[in-house]
């Protein structure tokens, strides 16, 4: 990545962090519902999404803020959605857990763990059938990889040559259960190989490494029209769903990963290499806070849906 794209990546990651921190704060004051934050996982979202082009489609899940914001979603409309307001991307019908924004190519978000894995094959089948360059990117967690649909989806995608980049965000946690309690496997990548699919595992807290691996994987999917599995090894620094005191988390593990906070790591690197001054970095953070202030104002001013919306959009 060039210094410019690295700085852009930092800006996006800071924006995501500011968005989620703001929502945590609002939740504490009773002004917004709780959310599943992706604090600590920003490099994975930004690294992958920055490797895509505009015609690619993204499927995601309950922990979607990073993917949506990396893709250019409007923080005000996202917050409005979390608050159940009419100007949210889903008119307040989704709340935080399944925000889709078709206009920016984020489709069919599902909060049924593994749900997006089952839908991605169909989206890719449409792409393959109806033509077009775009590929499908499916974000899912390490927990979703424990669902049977993970196997079913990868098997079908490999068999039918579906252009899907599977991205397993391996954040070590599956709600309140550590990954070590749910599987003996250290990585999901060997499961791709078993089904005839290529895959790679990458340090998910290093945005440059994620971006490079994703760019290579995207190029391979575009060229071969075959699926690829990318695993980003990262860590969920906050709880599963706000509020969550993380009392069940091993403090030394948490400390270790806090030391690898992807934003702090990137910022330190850019400052060390003389690509960004401390003042410039502070300005990036201040800008993000400003954007969040307007976003909160927009979301709080947005009206709630009307009673007539209760039964609207059930049927086409």
């Amino acid at each position: 990545m060039t210094s410019d794209t690295l700085i852009q990546a930092l800006e996006r990651m800071v924006l995501i962090r500011a968005y989620e921190d703001t929502l945590v704060g609002l939740h504490g004051q009773g002004r917004a519902a709780g959310t599943c934050t992706s604090v600590g996982q920003e490099a994975s979202a930004v690294g992958v999404v920055s490797a895509l082009s505009s015609e690619d489609l993204i499927l995601t899940n309950h922990r979607s803020a990073g993917h949506l914001l990396a893709r250019g979603a409007d923080p005000g409309r996202l917050m409005a959605e979390v608050m159940g307001k009419r100007d949210g991307y889903c008119k307040g019908k989704s709340g935080s857990l399944h925000i889709a924004a078709k206009e920016i190519g984020v489709v069919l978000t599902s909060t049924i763990v593994g749900g997006e894995l089952a839908l991605a094959t169909g989206v890719a089948l449409s792409r393959a059938t109806l033509g077009g360059e775009g590929i499908v990117v499916c974000f899912f967690g390490d927990g979703a990889a424990c669902e049977g649909r993970f196997h079913e989806s990868l098997n079908l995608a490999a068999l039918w040559n579906l252009p899907i980049l599977y991205v397993c965000e391996n954040n070590q946690w599956q709600a309140f259960v550590h990954r070590k309690e749910t599987t003996l496997a250290d990585s999901v990548v060997p499961q791709a190989a078993a089904l005839g699919m290529d895959g790679k595992s990458v340090d998910g807290n290093d945005v440059e490494a994620v971006q490079a691996a994703a760019a290579e994987a995207v190029a391979a999917v575009r060229r071969t029209r075959k699926p690829f599995l990318l695993e980003t090894r990262t860590y969920r620094l906050r709880g599963h769903f706000e509020p969550d005191d993380q009392s069940y988390v091993d403090p030394s593990e948490l400390e270790q990963w806090r030391g690898r906070d992807p934003i702090a790591v990137l910022r330190a690197r850019l400052e060390r290499d003389g690509l960004l001054s401390m003042g410039e970095a502070d300005a990036i953070e201040a800008r993000a806070r400003g954007i969040m202030e307007s976003a909160v104002a927009f979301a709080e001013a947005s009206p709630y849906p009307g009673a007539e919306d209760l039964t609207r959009d059930v049927y086409a």
Partner: protein, 320 residues
């Protein structure tokens, strides 16, 4: 009018709709093997055998439906739908609403069920009411080949997910099927016989029991009106209510179990909206709260038969 079975009527509808609309495709375990003429006419990409994995078949259909295709999937037997419940109920049924109307799911799920082949409870389970209870879905269950063809054509053209159940016991029964593009609209019941004394409401194979019962009742001077629902959701409330307001008596008949079945809904509907017209309590004749047995006599005993329907209707009319 040509004669064909329900199975052939389904194939005919598929062929006509695939010819009409290049976005229609068929997927399932063995669809390309069993419906070879479709493969020959439309090619392998549109008639796809799948791995043995109902969940991903249904999910692939939902994902494809939301992004430009009109998939029809054959999940074989209704009990197998349990493996695809998430994709049908949580994805296809809800993601339109949850997303504020951003997506539509024009897809059809085919499944067979019902007594007739002695296949037992893991292949025979009339679970259609589960889907009637789920928002965002439509549910169809025809009683004859002409409706099977016409309703399937309508289901494929519908922009919503449609569960299309065919009755095992009717699969190879012949019937006349009109030539050409005879679409039977969803949500419209058929009045198979008019009568002023009692209304018999049913769908799928028990419609035939109602028709037989009505013929015998006529011999005794009792005129029964027979309604074939054809579509369970949306339910044709008007046709049911109009009939009950006329006859004042209602027998609802289905093979599915009683508790929270479609018959319960119809009885409640009539109690809410036509109570004043009722001259006798509503009677439900249904399968028992039991899994479907394989043994032939038990399998038959599971299904309400013409004699029972006749006797229930007679009881209502004679005030017994």
């Amino acid at each position: 009018m040509p004669t064909m079975t329900v199975t052939d009527a389904v194939s005919a509808a598929l062929a006509e709709e695939m010819r009409r609309d290049p976005t229609v495709l068929l997927m399932g375990e063995g669809v390309a093997t069993k419906r070879l003429p479709l493969v020959e006419e439309f090619g392998a990409p549109r008639v796809r055998n799948t791995p043995l994995a109902e969940g991903i078949i249904a999910g692939t259909a939902a994902g494809a439906a939301a992004t430009g295709l009109r998939p029809v999937i054959d999940l074989l037997f209704a009990p197998f739908l349990t493996y695809a419940m998430d994709e049908i109920v949580n994805s296809a049924g809800k993601l339109r609403y949850i997303s504020g109307g951003q997506f539509a799911f024009p897809m059809v799920v085919l499944a067979q069920t019902g007594a007739g082949w002695g296949v037992g409870a893991q292949h025979n389970h009339n679970n259609e009411a589960w889907f009637v209870h789920s928002p965002g879905l439509k549910v169809v269950m025809p009683s004859n080949p002409a409706d099977a063809k016409g309703l399937l054509k309508a289901a494929i053209r519908d922009d919503n997910p449609v569960l299309f159940f065919t009755d095992i016991g009717l699969a190879y029964a012949d019937g006349p099927v009109p030539d050409g593009d005879a679409v039977v609209p969803l949500g419209k019941a058929a009045v198979l016989r008019e009568g002023a004394d009692v209304t018999l409401v049913s769908y799928a194979k028990t419609v035939h029991g109602c028709v037989q019962a009505a013929a015998r009742l006529a011999e005794a001077g009792i005129e029964a009106e027979v309604i074939d629902l054809r579509t369970l959701k949306p339910l044709d409330e008007d046709t049911i209510l109009r009939s009950v307001r006329k006859t004042g008596r209602l027998v609802v008949v289905h093979e599915a179990s009683r508790m929270c079945g479609v018959g319960a809904e119809i009885a409640a509907l009539v109690a809410e909206k036509a109570f004043g017209s009722l001259r006798a309590p509503v009677v439900r004749l249904t399968g028992p709260d039991a899994p479907a047995p394989a043994s032939y006599p038990l399998e038959q005993a599971f299904v309400p038969q013409a004699e029972a329907i006749e006797s229930a209707a007679r009881g209502l009319v004679e005030g017994r």
